[in-house]
């Protein structure tokens, strides 16, 4: 749909052939060949990285041995799954995954919306641009770097720890990042800080797409700033918010692996063991690829159900959905 409607080149080449059937299709493709060519790398990428690996899901039901390959490895049925469900860390893993992600959703999701709205209210374009640029710069730093910085700032002699001691919030310098009870807070704060600008971009775009006459009408009707936000901006970007929320809910079982991996220490295992990390530690690190795959497959199926339900709900409530 997108390809057909927005491409002037294709239009020049007479797209209007009304012939139907296979012949018509081929001639259509031929007519758009330049544009279709552009999609090819993406399609290849999908096939290599998304479709071919699907075949290897089968190793979740095996005791896979790299040397023996898929055909030579022993079939074990659902053993890997039952082992995961029976594992004494199963509920802890679930708690960590859902807890961390729910907090991430509750805190990390609305803040960029708020930020976008606030940014929109700024009058000086120059200042607005400046703030926006600065806010999304951290997005481009890798977690390894951010993690390293935080590690230094939050250690017992770090900048932030020293500051907190001076302000009186901490009695004595402690290693903040090595203390399990502070870990989630640090994680969510740092992620929100890092991604706030980047996540706000889509909302800023949505807001700038609102018809200015709506604002003018609202002003004439005597609406103040808050009124305009509530009655013009929010209803106008409702669809965007809904779509992104659905996507985020689908990601409830996911994790920011990189971010967690930077802080991956035995002391923190109890608060850091989300599904992905658990699969990595007990599966991949021990060469148990089958176990890791089984845990990963469980996650994917669960995530799909969540996404599907959220999408259905969204369609009912806001008439917006992914497909």
């Amino acid at each position: 749909m997108f390809i057909l409607s927005n491409m002037p080149v294709a239009q020049k080449r007479n797209l209007g052939t009304k012939r139907s059937g296979v012949l018509g299709l081929i001639s259509r493709i031929w007519a758009q060949r330049d544009l279709q060519a552009m999609a090819i790398p993406g399609v290849i990428w999908m096939i290599i990285f998304n479709f071919i690996p699907m075949y290897f899901i089968i190793i979740a039901f095996m005791r896979y041995n790299v040397a023996k390959g898929v055909l030579g490895s022993k079939w074990v049925g659902f053993k890997n799954f039952t082992e995961f469900f029976a594992d004494d860390r199963f509920w802890l893993v679930m708690k960590d995954t859902f807890g961390l992600n729910l907090l991430r959703l509750i805190i990390g999701f609305p803040i960029p919306i708020l930020f976008a709205i606030l940014l929109n209210e700024l009058l000086s374009t120059r200042f607005k641009r400046f703030v926006q640029t600065v806010s999304y710069l951290p997005h481009f730093l890798s977690w390894i770097i951010v993690g390293g910085i935080m590690y230094n700032w939050l250690s017992d002699s770090g900048l932030i720890t020293t500051l907190l001691v001076h302000v009186g919030l901490l009695k004595e310098p402690i290693h903040l990042i090595g203390t399990p009870q502070y870990f989630w807070g640090i994680l969510i704060t740092s992620e929100t800080w890092k991604e706030i600008g980047w996540n706000a971009i889509i909302y800023i775009a949505a807001i700038s797409g609102i018809d200015p006459s709506l604002f003018e009408a609202a002003v004439i009707d005597g609406a103040g700033r808050l009124r305009r936000v509530w009655n013009v901006i929010l209803p106008s970007i409702k669809g965007t918010i809904a779509v992104l929320l659905v996507l985020n809910i689908g990601n409830l079982l996911g994790s920011n692996f990189e971010q967690l991996f930077v802080f991956y220490k035995p002391v923190l295992y109890d608060v850091i063991d989300v599904i992905d990390i658990y699969a990595y530690r007990l599966g991949i690190e021990n060469g148990r690829l089958s176990y890791a795959t089984a845990v990963g497959l469980f996650r994917s199926i669960f995530a799909f159900i969540l996404l599907y339900t959220a999408n259905k709900a969204s369609k009912k409530l806001t008439d917006t959905s992914l497909v």
Partner: protein, 561 residues
């Protein structure tokens, strides 16, 4: 609406076309791949012929016959390994064997990198990895690596002259194949013959230790009181940061050596209790061991082991050693030579010295491990190697006296001189190595820094490493013990026993920091019991039985009791 439907159809058709072309591409590449392998076997066949024609002149080392320039890709499974190209050792290898080595070192997780290479069949010509790595059993098969015995018989019988028979026996599999040869392989006789000493050390900062009256730290009370006294007298170190009274090495996902084998050896607890083998991790049941773990727990409760001790990685620990931030340190000194040397150069009075550490209640001297028959890391020649004949000759070179001398001593006149018919390394080279490792590595990198062929023979030429290291060696003399028969007892990763052992070890990795950070002895006991229950629930005994059988087999191999 119609437009949309057509677009969807188009997408579908395109995807299908792509799939077909891709499959076609795959099909196309297959024959090329197989032709590659056939080419490789062709060359192999050719060189076999060459070898057969020269079998008569056996006694001549193989590497001398062919020194045409060639590149060899060599994967070393250690992130920290570093060999700046163009240094003396590297050049000597090129000169004597014609081989230009291209070292490949993992970035990040080494095991993962190796697994990826195995899975994608992209192993380079040669691979070096610790014998204890879980990939070893997998790699030790005809599918991945050449049996060294076959290569040696075929191309370079001289290999048998330089390989130690004991170690060959140790590593031979059921079919008599030898897939890898270790560096630092060491027999009990070598311990005495070459005066092999252990790297284990219990280090304390000299100035603090002396200021608090050189206390005896062998008993739990002595240990705790010394830490307390140190902290009271020196709450801060020179850079204004707080003193860390005690630390071990870094924690990994399966535990921490300082509180496992190192501690057991200091306590002179043998690997077998009442004739039964117990693993060094997974909770050794010896009461003295448990009581010392409780002592460390107490140290944490008293604030003698701050959180840093549990979260710092090797880099952080080395940084802190260099700043002299620890009072006492349970660490292998050879693992921290750079920071220890730098601290000594910068502030000789704050240097670390090796003293008597934790001991059992009878105050027996420690029984520190040296390397065993297994040695340290195995070098293997992979099936991807295009010139296995050159690779095996190169290995023979490395293990021979020529190679040992080149890699350890360097070049006569440049890095060492002959004094009374004995090679002696020039003092300035020795000094550079101890004070400025970076330049040393760039210029020479001898001293067995390219360590894949290191052997006990090198001990003959080893100069006194200079302070502070001389003192560590002096302390360790006569405390060596040979634990060789307890190596190589690991079940393969994809067996029942292997899975059980992995689970028990991972759980130990989770529980060990908790044990040490427990608020009270009662909590410690509860955690310990929980762990015992966990082991029962995963049928740990099965894995342990497997290990015990292996130990018995190992003993039979070398004829030990």
């Amino acid at each position: 609406m119609k437009k949309i439907k057509i677009a969807k159809l188009l997408c579908l058709v395109l995807a299908l076309t792509m799939a077909v072309t891709l499959l076609a591409a795959c099909g196309g590449s297959q024959p090329t791949g197989s032709s590659d392998t056939s080419k490789a076997s062709d060359t192999a066949a050719v060189s076999t012929g060459a070898a057969e024609s020269t079998t008569a002149a056996e006694e001549e080392p193989g590497w001398k016959k062919d020194t045409s320039p060639m590149q060899l890709d060599w994967y070393v499974n250690e992130t920290w390994f570093d060999n700046p190209k163009g240094n003396l050792a590297h050049e000597l290898i090129k000169e004597q064997t014609g081989i230009d080595i291209n070292f490949i070192v993992p970035v990040g997780n080494a095991g993962q990198k190796l697994n990826t290479m195995i899975a994608s069949n992209s192993l380079p010509d040669m691979v070096t990895l610790g014998w204890y790595e879980q990939q070893v059993p997998q790699l030790s098969t005809d599918a991945y690596t050449y049996p060294l015995n076959e290569l040696a018989d075929k191309y370079d019988p001289y290999f048998w002259k330089v390989a130690a028979p004991d170690i060959v026996n140790w590593y031979k599999d059921k079919d008599g194949n030898l897939f890898g040869y270790p560096c630092n392989g060491n027999t009990p006789d070598d311990n005495t013959k070459y005066n092999v000493i252990s790297n284990r050390s219990f280090l304390v900062r000299k100035d603090i230790y002396e200021a608090i009256g050189k206390p005896d730290m062998r008993t739990p009370d002595g240990f705790l009181n010394a830490l307390k006294a140190a902290k009271e007298k020196f709450p801060k170190v020179d850079n204004g940061q707080s003193l860390i009274p005690f630390s071990g090495t870094y924690f990994t996902s399966i535990g921490n050596n300082s509180y496992e084998d190192i501690l057991l050896e200091y306590l002179a607890i043998p690997r077998e209790i009442d004739g039964k083998f117990y693993d060094t991790r997974c909770g050794n049941p010896h009461p003295e061991y448990i009581s010392w773990l409780k002592t460390f727990r107490k140290a944490h409760e008293m604030g003698m082991m701050p959180t840093d001790v549990f979260v710092d990685d090797r880099t952080k620990i080395e940084e802190k050693i260099q700043q002299g931030r620890y009072f006492a340190l349970f660490y292998q000194w050879k693992d921290a030579m750079i920071p220890l040397g730098q601290l000594y150069t910068n502030k000789p009075e704050e240097t670390y010295i090796s003293v008597d550490g934790p001991a059992n209640s009878k105050l027996d001297p420690p029984m520190l491990s040296t390397t065993g028959y297994s040695g340290w890391e195995l070098t293997m020649i992979t099936k991807n190697c295009k010139n296995p004949d050159r690779a095996i000759k190169f290995m023979s070179w490395g293990m021979s006296e020529d190679g040992q001398k080149a890699l350890y001593l360097g070049r006569e006149g440049e890095t060492y001189d002959m004094v009374d018919n004995k090679p002696v390394i020039k003092p300035e080279i020795n000094k550079m190595k101890n004070s400025d490792m970076a330049t040393f590595k760039k210029k020479y990198n001898t001293y067995g820094e390219i360590w894949m062929f290191n052997s006990s023979m090198m001990n003959l030429w080893e100069p006194d490493p200079g302070q502070p290291f001389d003192q560590y060696r002096e302390w360790a003399k006569g405390k060596s013990s040979h634990y060789g028969v307890y190596d190589n007892n690991r079940p393969v990763a994809d067996s029942d026993e292997g899975e059980i052992l992995a689970k028990a070890e991972n759980k130990w990795g989770e529980i060990l920091p908790k044990l040490l950070m427990a608020k009270s002895d009662e909590e410690f006991d509860k955690l310990w019991k929980d762990y015992e229950d966990y082991k029962t629930s995963v049928d740990y005994q099965k894995a342990l039985d497997y290990q015990r059988t292996k130990v018995a087999e190992n003993k039979a191999k070398v004829g030990a009791k």
